[in-house]
């Protein structure tokens, strides 16, 4: 690939995937400035290893893999789990879903351990298959399925519990 084609291909990747990478990055670090830095560092790393990208189809999963590594490299010491969910910055949510259920779900998502939240984000945000998520996270597809299943079960139970407490509180 000549330099001009390489530049064009790179720009196409930036235009195509920056938004979803930002959302994934935000889900990892819960900070918009850090999420943007993550996206920038991801593309910079991608550019440096661009020649090793053999298939255009695998570029998307490759970018997610890089972003995870960058997050681990740069921000692992400040894992969001260490912070109280209430203290997390608020972010405008497209679609204006301000229902109680959505607010509670956001809180529960923040409390979900990274090992469960991450495959869930890769599936919901990016639409990756369990095999692809396994490749990105370097775990088996079976492990991905177990984590996805547990993540949804935990979220649903938390929502039900919250709903019960809310109902009891209202009645009391």
């Amino acid at each position: 690939m000549d330099m001009k084609a390489k530049h064009k291909h790179f720009e196409m990747l930036v235009r195509s995937f920056s938004s979803e990478l930002y959302r994934f990055g935000y889900g990892l670090c819960h900070n918009s400035a850090q999420a943007e830095d993550l996206v920038q560092e991801t593309y910079l790393r991608a550019w440096k290893s661009f020649d090793s990208l053999r298939e255009a189809n695998s570029a998307r999963a490759w970018l997610y893999t890089i972003l995870r590594r960058e997050n681990a490299r740069i921000y692992d010491r400040q894992r969001p789990e260490a912070r109280a969910p209430e203290a997390l910055p608020d972010v405008a949510v497209r679609g204006n879903d301000t229902s109680v259920e959505a607010l509670v779900l956001r809180k529960q998502l923040n409390e979900l351990k990274m090992e469960y939240r991450e495959p869930l984000m890769l599936q919901v945000i990016a639409g990756f298959s369990t095999e692809e998520i396994g490749d990105i996270m370097n775990i088996s597809a079976n492990a991905v399925m177990t984590r996805l299943s547990r993540a949804r079960r935990m979220l649903r139970e938390s929502l039900q519990l919250e709903h019960m407490q809310h109902s009891t509180g209202t009645l009391g």
Partner: protein
């Protein structure tokens, strides 16, 4: 598929529509209800993750990548950055000379190489695109004199002007304002072309025009209407002897 298998599958992916799963759901009311509940949860999950993306993110990523590509390092001090920039320029220069040496007899190759030079020059110096300096007539006059040209009358407000190297010759890099954003004008003495060369990239639109001293490139953001700016520049930037 039994109910246990169905619910396990649904928890892994509620949007799963495999034949076995759908067939079971169509014949099992409790599992159908379970699916509806999980799909509702899935919709809320999607909207929770679907946060607003900062405006201009892609452009900033591209700009940052260009800056860092130029410096050759992720984090570098100003001196290290300059060394890398010089090294990159030398390598690019050698590459370009070899390329031109191999293609000097082909007008098509020359046109392509000049177009690539213009695009690379602009993308390598993206940081100047949004400059807000008001360039004085005196400064512009000095730059134009240095490359044996002159700006005859008012060529409009310039936000950036600098002498630069374009292939083998000294040229001028000017930036003015168009309707869609900044417009780059590269004055390229000695770069003679047979006919107008259109420039298109994913971000920029423009053209290179033949002039008495060489050529003049006018490049704006995608969608910028270049002809009025080109006309003004072509009329007002002339060889120093006129």
């Amino acid at each position: 598929m039994n109910c246990l298998e169905c619910r396990r599958e649904l928890l892994i992916d509620p949007r799963n529509e495999t034949a076995g799963l759908i067939s079971h759901i169509n014949n099992c009311q409790p599992c159908s209800h379970e699916r509806e509940q999980l799909l509702a949860l899935e919709n809320t999950l999607e909207s929770s993750f679907n946060i607003d993306v900062p405006e201009g993110l892609e452009d900033r990523v591209l700009e940052y990548s260009h800056d860092e590509k130029k410096s050759g390092k992720v984090q570098s001090g100003p001196f290290a950055g300059r060394v890398w920039q010089m090294a990159a320029s030398i390598i690019l220069g050698i590459g370009l000379l070899v390329y031109l040496g191999l293609n000097q007899f082909s007008p098509l190759s020359n046109a392509y190489a000049l177009e690539a030079t213009v695009i690379n020059h602009i993308t390598d110096e993206l940081q100047y695109l949004h400059g807000s300096n008001d360039i004085s007539e005196k400064k512009l006059g000095n730059i134009m004199t240095a490359i044996n040209t002159r700006a005859m009358s008012d060529i409009g407000k310039l936000n950036y002007a600098s002498k630069c190297q374009i292939r083998k010759n000294a040229g001028a890099h000017l930036i003015t304002k168009g309707k869609s954003g900044p417009v780059t004008v590269l004055v390229m003495p000695g770069e003679h072309i047979d006919k107008e060369i259109k420039i298109t990239s994913s971000r920029f639109d423009g053209a290179i025009y033949s002039t008495a001293y060489g050529s003049l490139a006018i490049v704006g953001e995608k969608g910028e209407y270049i002809p009025p700016i080109a006309e003004k520049m072509l009329q007002n930037i002339v060889p120093a002897s006129i």
